[in-house]
Subunit: 281 residues, 2 copies
């Protein structure tokens, strides 16, 4: 299947008009103009997909945030972020993004099938970054930055334009613009289990409560929006550098390097999510 | 683009023969036989992809293991597992698997861009399970089972048919069939960082060493093969039930439920990967 671009179509129309205007005349002398080759539609196999984006394409981060919040209630955190980001690309950039299933991210809810692993919203963002970015070094830096940002950011922050109907019943905490800051916690871990348990304990609610859902719906918007911003920064510069780790973790891995044979460590995550300081034990 | 199946082709040939044999005769009386509609080729959007597999399709787990081991050295653990599993589906089941990029999993190396998060081999397996399985409950159970199996399994176990050329230099440990058992450790955590650091410390090698690469290449084969077996079990029964958590973790979440408002927990992972027992603190 081929897709005729606007340029090819105009070129073809011009040739057609030329043919009509010279109908019946002698063939023109000179080099023959070959008909334009139709540009094939990009397919999912033409990966990564940055090559198919126009130079000025940027994601609409505000729209992505609202879409992610709404989609959370249709399939969880990973689906919220993934479908909002891919939806923007599919609707505004077209192929091959519009040839991919928007429902692919539902598996990631609750840190992969409720396992409590990597936050599904962050995983959804990672999957879309991976889809787009061709430069492997920049791609890795963007993923590192997204996960590090997640660990250190006070969630939730997003205030939806329209509350989802499923949020009507059972929410006891005040998520209004004026009060949401009082509910915020920086999770310090990029893992769903640690992030959710810490937030629920601090706010006195259960992990299965409507309050937790309201929190994670807004966090999903926050993470999807941040992913859009990270992607836009890359698309503007075609390069990306990750922020450094927190000072304490940088201190840990100064001794616990990947090259030592004693307690060797290779990670980008915060150490204090699971480990006490030496001087605290 | 459409794809004519063997059945449609035979049907069409039959119609054509019929037309030839009655050439010149009066039109037959009775209901007209409509020409068979060509079966469209499944596309990546026709998700999930279980619907496109023949009832007797099963992955070749032994071939997947070897392919995963070899591919590890071309793009890391997630690429190894993902490309081996997807490669089997693309080569032996066809569309839409053959329309997807085999390189999609490279981002997952070292627990997502070397972040030390979820083991990339496990993530590669999870992504392919997600691609195939339509039943959301079974899909979640399969992912839970895969991650739980990972935490409790002594790695590495696989002995490659042919050692990869990149393994020649710098490997100091004995990965031979007779000796590999001495190198094995059950990681207790599904996170790359914990899994790698524990194994390296136990074997006195560095996280950046060729020994670690040799270990993770074999672990990638183990995880990809297990994923193939989990998928085959599902494809045979069209249902799947996860194994229960370890007894200690089951004890933890008996009090730390998702419904309590005090230290609420929603996870499927082993608790003792990060937490001490109450009676040990």
């Amino acid at each position: 299947m081929t897709h005729v671009t606007r340029r090819a179509l105009l070129g073809g129309a011009g040739l057609l008009l030329g043919a009509v205007s010279t109908a019946g005349a002698a063939p023109a002398i000179g080099p023959a103009t070959a008909p334009p080759t139709p540009t094939p539609t990009p397919t999912p196999k033409d990966f990564p997909y940055e090559q198919h984006l126009k130079p000025d394409y940027r994601l609409d981060a505000a729209a992505v945030r609202e879409a992610a919040y709404q989609a959370y209630y249709a399939g969880g955190c990973c689906h919220g972020a993934y479908s909002a980001l891919l939806g923007d690309l599919a609707q505004r950039a077209g192929a091959p993004f519009d040839q991919l299933p928007l429902d692919f991210g539902k598996f990631g809810a609750g840190g992969i099938a409720t396992y409590g692993s990597v936050c599904g919203a962050a995983l959804g963002g990672v999957l879309v970054v991976n889809m787009v970015v061709a430069n492997a070094q920049a791609r890795g830096a963007m993923m590192t930055d997204l996960l590090r940002w997640y660990e250190g950011t006070a969630f939730p922050a997003y205030v939806p334009k329209a509350k989802h109907a499923k949020e009507a019943a059972g929410v006891t905490l005040d998520f209004s613009p004026a009060a949401i800051v009082k509910l915020q916690r920086a999770p310090r871990s990029h893992l769903c289990h640690a992030s959710v348990s810490d937030w629920c304990a601090a706010n006195g609610v259960a992990a299965s409560s409507p309050d937790k859902l309201a929190r994670c719906a807004r966090l999903t918007a926050d993470v999807a929006g941040k992913t859009a911003e990270v992607l836009n920064a890359y698309l503007a510069a075609r390069a990306y550098t990750a922020a450094p780790p927190d000072a304490e973790s940088a201190g840990c891995v100064a001794c616990h390097t990947a090259a030592t044979t004693t307690e060797s460590v290779a990670t980008g995550m915060r150490c204090d999510a699971c480990h006490d300081r030496h001087d605290a034990t």
